[in-house]
């Protein structure tokens, strides 16, 4: 029984340690007056308690409390990230299935799929949003463009990892399928896809986080107010006055990223019956 509690307990312990270290650092630096690497005061490093209190208070007059506002924004951003993640994963998977059956297509497209990882996609996120937005149908506008960014960020790692997984089928198992005179479709679904699942989930774990990042960044240029990216941008303006609000937002953003990641890990546990190796 204690075994199952071990991971959550470690997380809680780590969080408490982090809070402790935070306050310790704050205390030491304010007492000694050190200014490196940066000046420490209540604005640059608000007390943890201040941040927690900020959740319960409204950020602006006549508005619900910060936590409620942030949860709404989180839902908005989560929607963008999830949509992009889902669509991107499907596209990536289909692309991998197509490529595994044609060495010619592989040699034609793989170098770009690999090279694209070095293009700072996030850097073009603002432009993509501006470009795509007008093309989307009415209800999809705004958040849909951001979802496109998440899709783009997801489908490359998913495609390349799934392809590697599909190709990683045990050659002896492939021989076994030949003895059954198996059709290409049977080999794909009964052998290649199941053995590619660990690779696929490794990519999904990465993409889950990246989708959230992409969603947050994508919201910036359009001035989308309804999401976390917009909230970060806004609270950044008021940082010198109310630093704890930006911190609170960042805490929520961090939790969103972690939540997506944990969901993928749980899904992996459910689908793949072995214990998933924790691959960063």
């Amino acid at each position: 029984m204690f075994d199952r509690l071990r991971v959550p307990a470690t997380v809680v312990a780590a969080l408490l340690a982090l809070v402790g270290l935070w306050e310790l650092y704050h205390w030491v630096w304010t007492t000694t007056g050190w200014t490196w690497p940066f000046v420490v005061n209540d604005t640059s490093m608000p007390h943890v308690w201040t941040i927690i209190k900020a959740f319960g208070q409204p950020a602006q007059v006549n508005q619900p409390s910060l936590i409620v506002v942030l949860l709404h924004k989180t839902a908005f951003t989560a929607k963008e990230a999830a949509a992009g993640f889902g669509v991107g994963a499907v596209i990536g998977f289909v692309l991998a299935v197509l490529l595994v059956h044609s060495r010619l297509l592989q040699r034609g497209f793989l170098p770009y799929i690999v090279a694209s990882q070095t293009v700072p996609i996030l850097a073009i996120a603002p432009m993509v949003v501006v470009w795509v937005n007008p093309k989307l149908p009415g209800p999809l506008q705004g958040w849909g463009a951001v979802a496109v960014i998440a899709t783009y960020l997801t489908f490359f790692p998913v495609a390349i990892n799934t392809l590697r997984g599909l190709q990683a089928a045990d050659p002896r198992a492939l021989e076994l399928m030949r003895t059954y005179a198996a059709s290409r479709r049977a080999v794909l679904w009964k052998l290649r896809v199941p053995s590619s699942l660990p690779y696929l989930f490794s990519a999904l774990r990465l993409s889950a986080t990246v989708s959230v990042v992409g969603a947050i960044i994508g919201e910036l240029p359009t001035g989308l107010q309804n999401g976390l990216g917009g909230a970060i941008f806004n609270f950044n303006q008021y940082y010198s006055i109310e630093p704890q609000e930006l911190w609170a937002t960042n805490v929520i953003a961090a939790l969103l990223g972690i939540a997506f990641f944990v969901l993928v890990v749980l899904a992996e546990k459910a689908v793949v019956q072995r214990s998933p190796e924790y691959v960063a």
């Binding site: 071990r6 991971v7 470690t10 997380v11 780590a14 690497p37 940066f38 604005t43 640059s44 010619l104 297509l105 040699r107 034609g108 497209f109 170098p111 770009y112 090279a115 990882q117 070095t118 293009v119 700072p120 996609i121 996030l122 850097a123 073009i124 996120a125 603002p126 432009m127 501006v130 470009w131 889950a208 986080t209 959230v212 990042v213 947050i216 960044i217 910036l220 240029p221 976390l228 970060i232 941008f233 609270f235 950044n236 940082y239 010198s240 630093p243 930006l246 911190w247 937002t249 960042n250 953003a253 961090a254 969103l256 990223g257 972690i258 997506f260 990641f261 944990v262 924790y278 960063a280």
Partner: protein, 251 residues
């Protein structure tokens, strides 16, 4: 001769895509506004080089600094945690979960700490982005020494330091380089995106963002090209270093 055959399909695709892009934009006359022709981008890349290239170098220095500091600290932290094996194994899920935090969201805070204009704030973003994957992978590499090899070293009455030098570190090196490759890409992206939240006027991210704001998309895309080339250059440098250090590795 065979090697050309391997590259040919990729080359064909490249030519086709670029050609198609160019042709479509010319033919349809639309979106030249938002998605300029490749020829335009290359042209602006050259004509505006006096703004773009120095800006790229400025941002590259931020990325490089962040990469060096972040990766260095990551390796150091992994070494420290790796000494205490049970601690390392227990904390692994925590580190991996921490890797899922959108660090970019903290860019404004780094800006507040180090002054939004100064390059240090962007270096901090790049550094933090590099720190986690490098630390996690280095730690995993240090933990992956084969027990049989450790046993062998003990039979030679080797002490902990020697075991580290002769077994754990060489085993960890491939993992470290994998992480460095990832970090090299993240560093550049971190620096540029960090600049979207504020930065010096001669920083590449700011140049790109400002150009986009006034709808000068050809300049913006040329800036992206600069950023990509620099990112690829850093990645290539890591790969070259890897080839030298890991000459013994079969993969």
């Amino acid at each position: 001769m065979k090697r050309i055959g391997e590259w040919l399909p990729a080359l064909v695709v490249f030519v086709l895509v670029v050609g198609l892009w160019e042709a479509l934009v010319r033919a349809l006359h639309v979106h030249q506004f938002l998605l300029p022709k490749p020829s335009t981008i290359i042209r602006v890349f050259w004509t505006d080089r006096h703004t773009l290239w120095p800006a790229g170098w400025y941002t590259f220095k931020e990325a490089l600094g962040g990469f060096a500091i972040g990766s260095g600290l990551g390796i150091l932290a992994a070494t420290l945690v790796g000494r205490f094996r049970t601690l390392g194994k227990a904390l692994m899920p925590v580190f991996i979960a921490a890797n899922a935090i959108p660090i970019i969201a903290f860019a404004p805070i780094f800006g507040a700490w180090f002054n939004p204009i100064s390059p240090h704030s962007k270096m901090a973003v790049a550094g933090v982005l590099c720190f986690l994957p490098v630390m996690v992978n280095t730690l995993r590499g240090l933990q992956s020494a084969k027990p049989r090899q450790i046993e062998l070293m003990r039979s030679y009455a080797a002490n902990e330091l020697e075991i580290w030098r002769r077994v754990r570190v060489p085993t960890a090196l491939p993992f470290v380089f994998t992480a460095l490759k990832v970090a090299s890409v993240l560093a550049m992206i971190g620096a540029i995106v960090g600049e979207y939240f504020g930065g010096a006027l001669n920083a590449l991210g700011v140049v790109i963002n400002n150009a986009a704001d006034v709808f000068q998309f050809d300049v913006a895309w040329a800036g992206i090209l600069v950023a990509s080339l620099l990112g690829i250059a850093l990645y290539g440098a890591v790969v070259a270093a890897e080839r030298i250090v890991l000459r013994w590795s079969p993969s």
